[in-house]
Symmetry: C4
Subunit: 295 residues, 4 copies
C-alpha cells in the first residue's frame, strides 16, 4: 500500500511481500482477513479485561491471550521487516510506528518489572488499541473522503480556531457573571463549559444559574447551532467539487495544451483540435461527406 | 408493491389481490387506510398498556383490544397468503416476516402459559411494534431518499467505523486519565461516554472531572462537531447528483451510442444524429421547408 | 400582503388600507414600525410579568400595560375590518385568526370573572404571544427559504415519520432491557428518551444503566448522528436547485414553446428562433455582414 | 491590512509602518510571529491566574507578567499610532478599539485604586482576551468563508429570528403545562429551556416531568433536529455558488458588455468579440495562416 515499498530479493521474500503487503492474490486476502480478526480480538481482550467483573473471572485467560497476541504480532512485524528491501522506510512510516507501539507495552512489562511501574504500563497498554488503526489499510474506499477532508482541512482548522476564540471570550464573560458555586471556578473551566455548550454536547455538569448567565448561554447555543453550517457547507462543497472534477479529463490538448475538457469532448474547446487520437477526425473527410458538417 | 408477486388464479383471488397488494382502485385505497389506522391503534394500545396508571385502569380493555387486533391481523395475513400464486415468496420477504412477527407474540401466550413466561412474552410483544414498519409500504415517495442513502451507505459505514475507532482510542485515553469514581469504571463504559460525547448527545451521566480529562473531552467534542460535516456532505452530494441525473436520459444515441444526453436534447451532441424517433428529423425535410430552419 | 384583500370604497377607507395593509408609503412604513414595537413590548410585558420577582414589584403596572396593549390592538383590528371590502376574508385568514387570539384572552377576563377561571385564562393568555407571528409579515426575504422548505417538506415529513418509527422500536427495546428504576417506566417514556437521544439533545434525565441498554443507546446515538444528514442534504439540494432555477428564464420560445433557456440565451436552443424581441436578429442582416457569421 | 492606512512621512515611520502593518518582508513576518506569541502568552497568563491553585502558587509572577505584557502592548500601540499618517482612523477602527481595550483594564488599576474596584476591574480585565481577536489579522484565508457568511447572513438572521419566535411560543406553552418545581418558574426561564432544547444542547438542568410537557418537548426536539438543515443548506449553497463564481471572470466584453464569461473563454459567447486583449485575434490573421484554424 505504500508505493515506495519493494521486496528485498527474489524467492521467499518476494512471495511473503506479496502476501503481507499486497492484496490481489487469494493468499494475501486470507492473510488480511485473519490479521483483521486478530487485531479486533486483541482489542476486545484489552477492553473486556478492563471491566472489573470480567477481570475477576477471566483475568489469567486475558493475561495469556494478551501474551499470545503480542507474540503473534511480533512475529508478523519481524516477517514484514525481513521481506522488505529497506525495512527502515517502513518502520519510520505511520503504520510502522503503530506496529511497534502495538506490541511495545506488553514487552516493556518484562524489562521494567515492579509494582509501581504497573500503573504506568497501563497507560502504554492503551496504545495497544492503536492497532485498530491498522484496519484502515484494508479500506481503500475512504481515499475520496480523505482527499476532500484534506482540501477543506485548511478552512476547517480556521473554523476551529474561530470557535476556540469565541469560546474563550464567552467563557470568560460567563466566568465573571456566574457565582463560583455554579461550577465556573476558573476561566479554563469556563472555556470547557463554553465548548460543551457551543458544540451542543450539553453535559449539564456546569450550567449557568443567573438570568444574565443564562442569557449569554443562549447566545452561545444559538451561535453553535448556526455555525455548524460552516464546516458542513465547506465539506459539502468540496465533495460536490470532487464529483464534478470527475467529469473532466486531465489529458492536455495536443494543439494548445488546454487540460479541462469534459470526458465527452471530441474537439478542443479552445483551438478546435481533434482530441480522440484513436479515430480519424471527421473533418479531414469533409470532402467525401459535406452534409455531415452541415448538421 | 413487490414486483414478483402475482395473484393465484382468476376471480375472487385476483380481486382480493388487487385490493390488498395494489392501491389504484378506490377499494384498495380504502383497505390501505383502514389497515394503517388499525396498525397505529394496535401500537397505541401496546404503548398505553405499558403505562402503570393506564394498565391499572383499563388493563382488561387493552387485553381484549390486543386479542381483537391480533385476530384481525391474522385473518388479513391468511387472506394475503390465500390470494397469492406463490405464498412462500411473500412470507419469506421482509414484509412477510414482519407480518408474522406482529401476530406471533400474542398467539404464543396460548401455547406457553404460566406466570414466569409472562415476562418473557413481554419481550416478544414488543416485536408487535414492528407492525409499524408496514406503514412504509404506503409511502412510495421515500424511494428517492432510500436510493441516495444506498449509494452513500458505503461511505457512511466507513465514516461510522472511523467514529468507532476514534471513540475507542479517546475513550481508553480518558479511562486512564480519570479516576474510577468519575464513572469511567471500564474501557467499554469509557467508549460509551465517548459516543455520548462525540455524537454531541451529552447525557452528563458520566463526565470528566480532572483538567486533563476535560481537555481530552474538549478535543472529542470539537471532533464530533466538525466531522458531522462528513455524512452530511456525502449525502448532500448524493441528493444533488440524483437530482442532476434526472436531467439526463439514459437512452443511447442510435448513431454513436453516447448515453448522457439531457432530456431536452434533440440531436446527439457527439455525432449529430436525430434522437427523437417518434417525429421526423427536420433536416431531412430541409429542401421542402427551408424557412423552418430559419426561425 | 394577501393578494385577495381589497379596500372597501374610496377616500378614507382606501387611505387607511394603504397605511395598514401596504408598505410602500412613508406613512405605511411608520405604521409598520410602531406596530412591530408595540407587539414586542406587549410580549415583553407578558414575559416579565411571569417572573415572580418582577410580578411582585410591578404587578399593577404590567396589569394596566396589558390592558393598554389590548385596547390598542382591538382598535387596530377594528380599523382593519372597517377598511376592507370583505372583512370576513381577512378574519378567516391565518393573520386574522392570530389577531383575534392575541386580544381575546384579556377580554375574556371581563366576561368570565372569578378565581377559578384565572388559571384557565393564563393558558389563553399565552396565545397572546402568537402576536409575534405577525412580525413575519414584515420580513419579505424569507419567501425563498419558505419555498425551498415547502418543496422539501414532503421528504422531511417522511424523514420525521421514519425517525418516529425508529424511536418507537428502539424505545420499546430499551424499555424491556432497562430496569424500571432507571426511569424507563413505560413505553411512552422510553419513546421520549429515544427522541431525546436520537435528536442528540441528551438531557440526561433518563439514561440507560445496564451494559446492554448502553449498547442499544450507542446505536441510537450513532443513528441520530448520521441521519441528520438526510434533512440537511434534502434541503441543501433544494436551495441549490432554487438558486440554479434563477439562472433560467421562464419565457417560452415563440417558435417552439421551449421554456428553460438561460437568461443569457439569445437563440432558442431547440429550434434556433431569435429570443430577444427588443433587438433585431443579426441573422436577418446576414447579407450585409457575412464575416460575423463566420466567426 | 486596512486599505486606507498610510504611513505618516518618510524614513523611520515608513519603515516601522512596513514592519507593523504589512507582512511581506522577513522583518514584518518576524514581528507578526513574536506579537502572536505574546498575545497567546498574555491570554494564557490571565486564564491560569483565574485558577485558584495556580493563583495561590504563582500569583505574584502572574501579576508582574501581566504588567510586562501591558507595557509591551502599550509601547506597540504607541508605535502604531506614531507611524500612521492619520492615527485616529486606526484608533476608531475595530482593531484599534480592541488594542485599547486590551491594555486599558490593567492601567485602570493604577487610576482607580482601592479594594472595591478590584472586583470591577476583573470584569474589564477579561476584555483583555479580546486581544485574541488580533490573531484574525494573521489569517488571510478566512476571507472566502467570511464573504459566504456575509451573503447568507441575512437569511441566517431571519432563521434565528424564527427560532426565537418558536422558542417563545413553545416555552410559554411548556411554562403553562409544567409545575413550577420542575424548574419552569417563569416564561424567560422557559424560553431558556426552549433554546437549550431546540439547539439540541440539552443540559438537563430544566426538564419536563409531565407527560404532556414531554410530548411538547419531543415536538421542540424534532423541530430543532430538522430545521438545523436551514442554515446548513443556505450556507452550503453560498459556498458552492462562490466556488462556481470563481469560474467566471467579471470583465465585460468590449463588444456587447456581457460579463459572465468563464476564465477560459477567448471569444464572447454572445457576440463573438475576441476577449484576450494581450494577444492578437487569430481570426484577423486567418488569411496569413489558414492552417492554424485547421488544428
Amino acid at each position: 500500500m505504500l508505493p515506495h515499498l519493494k521486496p528485498g530479493g527474489e524467492g521467499l521474500r518476494t512471495r511473503l511481500f506479496q502476501i503481507i503487503f499486497e492484496s490481489d492474490t487469494p493468499m494475501a486476502k486470507g492473510f488480511d482477513i485473519v490479521l483483521m480478526a486478530l487485531i479486533l480480538a486483541s482489542v476486545a481482550v484489552v477492553m473486556l479485561d478492563s471491566v472489573p467483573v470480567w477481570h475477576a473471572a477471566y483475568g489469567p485467560v486475558f493475561y495469556w491471550a494478551e501474551w499470545g497476541f503480542t507474540i503473534v504480532f511480533t512475529i508478523e512485524l519481524a516477517v514484514r521487516v525481513y521481506c522488505l528491501e529497506r525495512p527502515w522506510l517502513y518502520l519510520k512510516s505511520f503504520y510502522g510506528i503503530v506496529d511497534i507501539l502495538a506490541i511495545l507495552p506488553t514487552w516493556l512489562l518484562l524489562v521494567i518489572p515492579g509494582a509501581q511501574s504497573l500503573v504506568m504500563v497501563r497507560i502504554l497498554r492503551v496504545l495497544r488499541i492503536f492497532r485498530v488503526l491498522r484496519l484502515m489499510q484494508f479500506v481503500g474506499e475512504g481515499r475520496l473522503l480523505v482527499e476532500a477532508l484534506k482540501r477543506s482541512s485548511h478552512q476547517i482548522l480556521l473554523f476551529l480556531f474561530t470557535v476556540f476564540m469565541l469560546v474563550t471570550i464567552f467563557g470568560s464573560l460567563v466566568y465573571l457573571i456566574e457565582p463560583d458555586d455554579a461550577g465556573f471556578t476558573s476561566i479554563p473551566r469556563a472555556v470547557y463549559w463554553g465548548i460543551v455548550t457551543l458544540t451542543t454536547v450539553g453535559y449539564g455538569d456546569i450550567t449557568p444559574v443567573t438570568p444574565l448567565g443564562q442569557f449569554v448561554s443562549m447566545a452561545v447555543m444559538l451561535l453553535g447551532y448556526s455555525i455548524i453550517a460552516v464546516p458542513t457547507g465547506v465539506f459539502s462543497a468540496e465533495v460536490i467539487r470532487s464529483i464534478r472534477a470527475d467529469r473532466y479529463s486531465d489529458e492536455a490538448c495536443p494543439g494548445c495544451g488546454y487540460d479541462r475538457h469534459e470526458h465527452k469532448a471530441r474537439y478542443c474547446l479552445r483551438c478546435g483540435t481533434w482530441l480522440d487520437e484513436d479515430t480519424p477526425d471527421p473533418r479531414t473527410q469533409q470532402d467525401d461527406a459535406p452534409d455531415a458538417e452541415e448538421t
